[in-house]
């Protein structure tokens, strides 16, 4: 069984599986991911939401953790919600904005 830690690109690809169901963009394209840290088989992510009052906050956070735990070489994943600085539309990835649904 391969126990190599995942790369940042692999982590981001996993997080791209988590979509905002209303906007149709994933949380990476939306610019919600503030930081990714990988230490051995542990992944820590700091992310935000488009609004602090978002009712989906907890399910998106939990979903991101599940997506990370599905990765090969990851045995623990922690996703922390942060709201400082607040998200704004300028954080959306340029290519995602131009092709947004």
């Amino acid at each position: 069984m391969n126990t190599n830690p995942p790369t940042e690109a692999v982590v981001l690809d996993a997080l791209r599986q988590v979509l905002d169901p209303e906007i149709g963009m994933n949380i990476v394209e939306l610019g919600l991911i503030y930081d990714v840290r990988i230490a051995g088989d542990e992944v820590r992510v700091a992310m935000t939401l488009t609004t602090a009052g978002c009712p989906m906050g907890e399910s998106i956070r939990g979903g991101a953790e599940i997506a990370l735990l599905n990765l090969e070489g990851v045995s623990s994943a922690y996703v922390e919600l942060v709201f400082d600085p607040p998200w704004h539309p300028g954080m959306i990835a340029q290519n995602a904005a131009s092709s947004s649904v």
């Binding site: 069984m1 830690p5 790369t7 940042e8 692999v10 982590v11 981001l12 996993a14 599986q17 988590v18 979509l19 169901p21 209303e22 906007i23 149709g24 610019g31 991911i33 503030y34 930081d35 990714v36 840290r37 990988i38 230490a39 051995g40 700091a46 939401l49 488009t50 609004t51 602090a52 009052g53 978002c54 009712p55 906050g57 907890e58 399910s59 956070r61 939990g62 979903g63 953790e65 599940i66 997506a67 599905n70 990765l71 090969e72 990851v74 922390e80 919600l81 942060v82 709201f83 400082d84 600085p85 704004h88 539309p89 954080m91 959306i92 990835a93 904005a97 131009s98 947004s100 649904v101």
Partner: protein, 476 residues
Amino acid sequence: MEATLPISAAPDVRAAQPKQARAAAPSVSLPLRFMLTGLVALLGAVGWIIARPSILASYHYNQYVIAATHLVVLGFICTVVMGAMYQLVPVALETKLYSERLAKWQFVIHVIGFVGMVWMFNVWDMKQVGHFGSALALGVGLFVYNMARTLWRVPKWSIVATAITAALTWFSLTILVGLSIAAAKCAYESTEGLATAEGVKQVVGGLQVVAGIVSRFDAIGAMHAHAHLGVVGFFVMLIVGVSYRLIPMFTLTEVQSKRRAALSILFLNIGLAGAVVTILLRSPLRIAFAAIAVSGLVLFGWELHAMLRARKRLVLDWGLKSFLVAAAMLIPVCLLALVLSWPSLPMNQSFGMLENVYGFLGLFGVVALAILGMLHKILPFLVWFGVYSPHVGRAQLPLTSQMVSERAQAGGLFAYLAGLLVISIAILRESELWVRVGGVLLLASLLLFGWNTFKVFSHFRKPQLRPLPSTKPAVV
């Protein structure tokens, strides 16, 4: 080994202060019960127009006109707006609903109140209208209290919070004025035998004093003031204020000028306050206040246009298109408002029918269409949240846009607009036949909306979950 990923647009999270995510919104069943009840009331109101087209095709206030108007306003608009506010105010203002339990009780009282009121207006029993109206007012009191306590918790005050506070104030005043008008039409001879100390006699005495005050004003003027307080003060104020939060959320943009947004709310409030007083007093100054309120709406339109130009989400869905068409319908409605508030306007049959068009377009063209547009967004989201939120990250999930038929949404909007056009012309021509034809078009639009609602709710029964590709090898 530790690897970090500095995302290009990301700030330094090491300096960021983590906050606990807040479960802001109530359970999805709360807003859904309000919204479904409201849609049933709208269906009933459109059916009523088809069955009795004289409601719109003739200019006189009779019991059926007033009953049908209250079915639309209290049964559809108020019910849906209250349900939406329980859901959206905590989300938009980043706070928590004060009491979901209170909201559930308010729903029961509200339904008893509006159903009883519409029924009693229809048989023209004003004393019972007052009694059911008091029940409705109790519900509104609970709603306003719940919202006020929710607003009290708002961490950061904004123009949206100001608009919601103003809307709740105007709403409370609308109910008080409405009850006073009902009291003015009642006689309470049966209380003469009651002892002075009895509570009932004291309450009735208070009602008689209020009735005496209201009776000094022109009855039509009082009804017009009541209508403007509710429609402009509560509904339009909310449409304008909440747009400054919902349009950025749904189209990925930002308010472009906070000053312009604030002025739009200020002008709308000043204009409405002056318009209500001058309508009540039949003063020629009402044109000035109507113009102030219209300038507030012009600023709103300007800001809406600026926000949309700066949006990151280029494609607008049919829900947003419906909402924006409703906002555009403010243009003919504002023009009619200015014409009808012109000093020394002759009060003849033609201008009377123009008043009918003004009221019809205000309610169905602006408010009801804006609500239907937002329901295209809110209903799929609520059902999605109820069905799929536990599965995020575990399975491939449908988008909310995939839960509805876009063709049905588009067809529904065009049928609705055709219905508005046909009925508006039919009112001016006093044609009951064409009011009925327009009513059938509105009904067709609502049936398409109902079909989409059925599709959305079918996800409760049959969720569409597909497995995610996993990169983790199976343990052998």
